[in-house]
Amino acid sequence: MNELLNNILFLPERASTFAERVDHLHYFVVGVTMLMSFAVGTTAIFFFFRYRRRSDTQTTEYVVPSVKTEFLFVSLPLLFFLTWFVIGFRDFVFVSTPPKDSMDVYVMGKQWMWKFSYPEGPNGVNVLHVPANRPVRLLLTSRDVIHSFFVPSFRIKMDAVPGRYTQTWFEATKPGTYQILCTEYCGLSHSKMLGEVVVLSPEEWDAWVKEQRKGSLQNRQDALADLSLVPQPARMAEQGQKVAAEVGCFKCHTVNGEPHIGPTFLGMYGKQETLQDGLSLRVDEAYITQSMMDPGAHLAAGFPNVMPTFQGKLTGPQTAAIVEYIKTLRTPDIRTGASSQGPVYEPIQ
């Protein structure tokens, strides 16, 4: 029965404790809606035929509703609507209140990827690993604009708002892989901001955690990333950010405007840079590329000459991608409450 209804209504498979509750109310609400529409519709159609005009000069009686009828008109819908409300609100409280013993995962939305971090250590991009049959609380925020974290199979959704944390929770009921979609319009590649939740059985979960502790997360994530639903990054800039994170640019450069070991990337492109030797030049594609390949050639004033060369470590396209990425960092895009680094895979200490 449930199976059939789900197929008629095109509902995705159900994989969380909340999904059951939502779907049952859904059937009830859709059922009542259909019934009421049908009742109103057939009454109207019956009237159209029964009371069709028979002559051009036909007049009609003066008919007005009795107080009883009007009362019925108000109370009948109100009764149904309040019933829906009571059940719906009870379920809403359920999904808004994570159990005390739930496991926490931090989720950060970012144009255009989901980054997950577990308090105990491992980070991941676009793939969230969780154990089955255990409540998981998600603490969401965003690094740029509003995103919304949606897992249809769990029937949960929560906005990720920059500058604040929101929360939601779920308890997955069966191992498997479920899609994550972003449902708040967030720019060019909004529709590519996909990810997946991998629900593991308790044994698999333990094994996974153990493996993370061995520090092989990076390889594993890379392997997973290939298999995942994540499409190729939409733009060079996106690619560039990834590459910059992987090769370690962010160890010395920030993107939030603060100088670190090296100058910040924010606002770097196009600005007039004063050099160690007193000269100054405009930061353009050529200068950025040169700095990567031969960092000592034109040192920016006030920074030590510690940058390694990336000659031979970066392919042409990768270099271009990084340049494109730095070019995008033009607005005063300063975010607080989020790390200034790109997605870096760090092994657990």
Partner: protein, 557 residues
């Protein structure tokens, strides 16, 4: 209730047709220079100009809609790139909402009919009326200039901080919308004052036609809510250009504040769009079933009720924005009340047909479609307000389908019904009934074929504003696009036979539907000052069909 009708014009007071011929030309021919139209203070000419412009805007919005639907034919890129797509759906929304649905019925039919229905010679402030048309047009020009020079990709909801950071040209379009807001306020103000001060002797509040009640309730919302939109749009422009930091968390602002301010206007705004259609339909159902409105006062008061509680329901757009659970509960209950007020109207419309004499003409066909869209769209709205169901549905295609059913469905049905119902009154011509029914059928069918698949897409979990989508959603998307083509075809047919009727149509009589609505108490098309000779007298309710129709109104030129 007296069995004899005395709402008709006093027979003796009507001059003989040939006598008024020279002295009272119809408003259409009273002055034929371009200037006499562009600078007219006649509410009827202003109404006609509104009609022409909103039809043009509807065409522009419709073209964007077809581009969006065509793009979604395949999961990957189809005809345009992602950025173009994002701009297209934004422009579709902005044009349709601010330039079509909000001004359409009040601007075109409200302007034309309200004074006629009140027995007034014009609206209270004719110059303000003309000004509001030009405000709308200047806003439109600025916004369209922005669309051509860069466009905007935020969606019509302009959510911050995306709208304050996007590199597309937000400012002119938001500024255009800001100016259009003034047009809306001016129209609302004019209608409120007109209704209060210009009612002809005999038209008490409870003898006003229901269309006037609906326009009045709409005007109240326009005047009260639009300033908030103006404010918030200006703030976004400031934020976008000068980085104020009101909505940007990086500068200590709050992005959710924007949502509160935005929906505080935009939720009532959906009633600005839908209440006028409720008003039109009350007129249409009474005329074509030739019967008094079943519960006149219930229908009148529910308009006010919707206008009132509509102000307290905005939070249902924010169930998953991180607002408190308690807030969600309060907003959910308040939203239910809007549903109840709508239900009262629906029941009373169906009640009106009871023991009536139904003449199934084109506007009545649109009434049928309207009834169905309102019931279904309204019920899905209530389903949304059921907080837990909103969680998976929010920001998916289910929302898209819901608001198209209720606001677009209802508005379009009412707009088309009004166009056909009042066509003879406005232009003095008749159109081809058969084609009218054919295109109504196509439009209603096309509408269903477009949006029912979208309800299912939402159930399946497809988010809105997606340029590309996972392959499993394709079948439903193709169905939806096919429906949209059918819909467009229906509109094309309408456009053809209506333009044909305008040029070659037969002369319409003053009251071709034998309606007892007050606006039919004058010639078709009406003379410049609305009534030939003295004002008609109004002693009974409108929409009253007891007793034979007494007098015929003279035909005008």
């Amino acid at each position: 209730m007296s069995p004899s009708s005395s709402i008709a014009a006093e027979p003796g007071a009507v001059p003989a047709p040939d006598e008024h011929h020279e002295h009272h030309p119809s408003y259409l021919v009273d002055g034929t220079t371009v200037k006499s139209w562009l600078l007219t203070l006649d509410h009827k000419r202003i109404g006609v100009m509104y009609l022409i412009w909103v039809l043009l805007f509807f065409l522009i919005g419709g073209i964007y809609a077809l581009i969006v639907r065509l793009e979604l034919l395949t999961p990957g890129p189809t005809i345009i790139d992602a950025m173009t797509y994002n701009r297209a759906f934004t422009m579709h929304g902005v044009v349709m909402i601010f330039l079509f649905m909000i001004p359409a019925i009040p601007g075109a039919f409200g302007n034309f009919m309200l004074p006629l229905m009140l027995g007034a010679k014009d609206v209270a402030f004719p110059k303000l009326n003309l000004a509001s048309l030009y405000l709308l047009l200047s806003g439109a020009v600025i916004a369209i200039w922005g669309m051509i020079n860069g466009g905007m990709d935020t969606g019509w909801t302009f959510y911050t901080p995306y709208s304050t950071h996007t590199t597309t040209t937000v400012a002119p379009i938001l500024f255009g919308a800001f100016i259009i807001g003034f047009s809306s306020i001016a129209t609302g103000l004019n209608f409120i004052v007109t209704t209060h001060t210009m009612r002809a002797p005999g038209i008490t509040w409870f003898k006003m036609p229901l269309f006037v009640w609906a326009m009045y309730a709409t005007a109240c919302i326009q005047v009260l809510a639009t300033p908030v939109l103006g404010l918030v749009l200006l703030l976004v422009v400031g934020e976008n250009i000068f980085h104020f930091g009101i909505f940007d968390p990086a500068r200590g602002g709050d992005p959710v504040l924007f949502q509160h301010l935005f929906w505080f206007y935009s939720h009532p705004a959906v009633y600005i769009m839908v209440l006028p259609s409720f008003g039109v339909m009350s007129e249409v159902v009474a005329t074509y079933s030739r019967k008094n409105i079943f519960g006149y006062r219930a229908v009148a008061f529910s308009s006010l009720g919707i206008a009132f509680v509509g102000f307290f329901a905005w939070g249902h757009h924010m169930f998953v924005s991180g607002q408190s659970t308690f807030n969600a509960g309060v907003f959910a209950v308040l939203t239910m009340l809007v549903g109840v007020f709508t239900a009262i109207k629906v029941f009373n419309w169906v009640g009106t047909v009871y023991k009536g004499a139904v003449d199934f003409k084109t506007p009545f066909a649109y009434f049928c479609g309207f009834l169905y869209f309102t019931v279904f769209g309204g019920m899905t709205g209530v389903a949304f307000a059921t907080a837990s169901l909103d969680v998976p549905w929010h920001d998916t295609y289910f929302v898209v389908a819901h608001f198209h059913f209720i606001m677009v469905g209802a508005t379009i049905m009412a707009f088309m019904a009004a166009l056909h119902y009042w066509f003879p009154k406005m232009f003095g011509k008749t159109y081809h009934e058969g084609w009218g029914l054919v295109s109504a059928a196509l439009i209603i069918l096309g509408f269903n074929a477009t949006f029912i698949p979208q309800f299912l897409l939402g159930n399946a979990g497809m988010p809105r504003r997606y340029y590309e989508y996972p392959e499993r959603f394709q079948t439903l998307n193709v169905a939806s696009t096919a429906g949209a083509s059918l819909l467009a075809f229906g509109f094309i047919i309408s456009a053809i036979y209506l333009v044909y009727a305008l040029v070659y149509g037969q002369r319409a009589s003053a009251n071709p539907w034998h309606s007892r609505g007050y606006e039919w108490l004058t010639a078709s098309p009406p003379p410049t000052h609305n009534f030939v000779g003295p004002q008609p007298t109004y002693t009974e309710e409108p929409h009253l069909y007891v007793g034979p129709e007494k007098s015929e109104v003279p035909d005008a030129v």
